[in-house]
């Protein structure tokens, strides 16, 4: 993807991230003369439809939580909406039979480390690519952008081999924390996002800092980084969510139970690895897997949507 293509999506991000109301662009429907009659009926119909869809979208999650609090026999009585015998047994079992406590910890370790490294490296790199002048800056940045065109699927074999048994390095990093973290030190989309954001910050600030006798580091640290707050928030969320929800690389690289994450644990459990269809326990594990990102979403929706929209490339 080149600059031009992703550019239109930067605007909403900024708007949203800065807490301004989104641009209008709403086809006029209500409050307009001549649309009065039948307009109430239409409105009600629309509401009904939207509510039905919302139920359809949210019901499975309610069902998950509700099942996680049921007893095993109740869980297979399909139409029991509210748990008749409220129990935390599902959670207990998730933490004992499947070591989901360990998995949770691993998920958190990966997500947090990757987030921190992304914040650090993408902010630095994004700033340099946006603002510092050095020879070959543009070609080097195009190179970074070009990596977005390289599908992870193609990289499976070479990256696995690189981490496992490349001739000179002998990293032996399959099934280690380092291996997974190493290949997620940065997401190109985050770097791109940071650069775009720094580009939108008027040059005036830096120039004012320059006239105020501030050096590069001071300008970066005291002036530019604070200005990039919304973008930092967006990549925090994106990196955390991306890593927390990753399945593909976790499956490939974490070939060891002690490094499993929630996702791999759930997949194993779900596809019969648990040798048992213990639904309450599985739904408990699932609830645990959804909860952190769900909570972040509920509390930081603005940044969340802004980040996702901007970095859409990652999908």
């Amino acid at each position: 993807m080149d600059d031009r293509e992703a550019a239109p999506h930067i605007a909403p991000t900024e708007r949203l991230a800065r807490g301004e109301p989104p641009a209008v662009g709403t086809p006029i429907a209500a409050g307009v003369p001549g649309r009065g009659k039948g307009h109430l009926v239409g409105q009600l119909l629309l509401y009904g439809l939207l509510l039905a869809i919302a139920v359809f979208y949210l019901w499975p999650f309610y069902w998950t939580i509700s099942t996680s609090l049921k007893t095993l026999p109740d869980s297979v009585k399909s139409l029991q909406l509210v748990p008749h015998h409220l129990t935390l047994k599902g959670y207990r079992e998730a933490f004992t039979t499947g070591p989901f406590g360990r998995y949770f910890l691993n998920s958190a370790i990966f997500a947090i480390t990757v987030t921190i490294s992304n914040l650090f490296l993408c902010a630095l790199g994004g700033y340099a690519f946006a603002r510092l002048r050095f020879p070959l800056r543009e070609p080097l940045f195009m190179l970074v952008l070009a990596t977005l065109m390289i599908p992870d699927q193609m990289r499976l074999v070479p990256v696995f081999k690189l981490l496992a048994d490349f001739p000179y390095t002998h990293w032996n990093m399959i099934a280690t924390y380092q291996g997974y973290i190493l290949i997620h030190l940065l997401y190109a989309t985050n770097l791109f996002l940071m650069r775009q954001y720094f580009l939108t910050i008027p040059k005036d600030y830096e120039e004012a800092a320059k006239l105020d006798n501030a050096g590069f580091f001071k300008t970066y640290w005291r002036v530019m980084l604070p200005l990039a707050g919304p973008a930092l928030a967006a990549i925090t969320i994106l990196s955390f969510q991306g890593t927390w929800n990753d399945f593909y690389w976790q499956l490939i690289l974490l070939q060891d139970n002690s490094k499993f994450t929630l996702n791999i644990g759930i997949a194993q459990f779900a596809s019969g690895g648990g040798f048992n269809t213990n639904w309450p326990a599985l739904m408990a594990a699932t609830t645990i897997a959804i909860a952190p990102v769900g909570l972040i979403y509920i509390f930081f929706q603005r940044y969340f949507i802004a980040g996702v929209t901007t970095a859409g490339v990652k999908g």
């Binding site: 496992a164 990293w171 070939q255 139970n257 194993q268 019969g272 040798f275 269809t277």
Partner: protein
Amino acid sequence: MTGGAAHPTAAKATTITLAHWSSSPVELKGIRATINAFEKANPSIKVNEINLDPYPEGMLARFAARKPPDIFYVDSNVFPDWVSQGVLEPLDARMAAAHMSKKPFYPRLLDAFRYKGKLYGLPKDWSPLAMEANTKALAAAGVAAPKTWAGLTAAAKKLKAAGQPPVCLGVDLARILAFMYQNGGGFLNATKTKAIVNTSKNTAAVSTYINWIQSGLARTPAQLGMGWCGEALGKEKASIIFEGNWVTSYMHDTFPGVSWKTYPLIGAKAGNKYRGNLGFTASYSIAKDSKNKAAAFKMLQFLDGPVGQKVWISNVGYLPARSDVKPPAGRAVYLKEAPFTHPWQFAPGFSKVTDTANNELQAAFEGKETVDVALRNIQAAANAALGH
């Protein structure tokens, strides 16, 4: 980790790594107890135990990194792949040097770990299939445990008539192949150079098997909403299943309230000629890239010696690989299957062939193609993997 007794002589101790899987907490306890016993007997060797899951993938990564564990489990099914890639150490010379006899081992189990005339692993335990049935359900339907295919059909009909749970059958080569053997069929020829899947005997076996499900006399675990047939037996959703010895401890631990019993696996017809079974086994093997082969072999010797086997078996209740070690009580039915048992094993590069086979069998079961076509496709895939 589980070093157990700490010896003051640890200073000159060699540390070796043992990799294993454990499909249940019981198994994990068993392997740790066995390791403890070994360390007590050999104070100069310390064992670092790693529990790998997923097992084959985890091992492959370690082989690839050239830092494999010194000693580890090898499933009979992946053995051909591994040995053909040269990651396993041959054992014959060391066994000869240590005067370790192969005699006590069941020959069919040993064969499973031989490649080009050399032995690359010693079996640690094994299990054939058997028939497990809910005794109450049988009694309620007034049937005795069936011994033949026809018997099964009749029993299933009576179960159905009596409103009892059905038979549970998985559409899985690891079950159906046993029925193919019962009918005189098979998968590969004796030298493992050619596929013999596409035969009328196999067609008949598969058709019968699938027909049990299609006619509604049997159900698949998926249809029952179960993870596997053992679960169906435990939750009393199935009256008859065909599983291995692992059911015993599972039922004992998870569903102690269910009354059930193990019976010999049925045959195509009456008579030993019509019996056939699949044996699931795994070996202890040593890595070609191991730096501590001597110590690792010492451990292997212990694990597959009478003492090690006894500790292991007494802990997990599996069938010993040595005929000179007494199996746990109540496992006689399984032991008696030994003469009819073929190892669950093919040739190098066959993991995709087993996937193919399962997919083809499923297609035949769903009626998307005939059994003939399915078997022909499996035959082709197998021959392709064999390099034809």
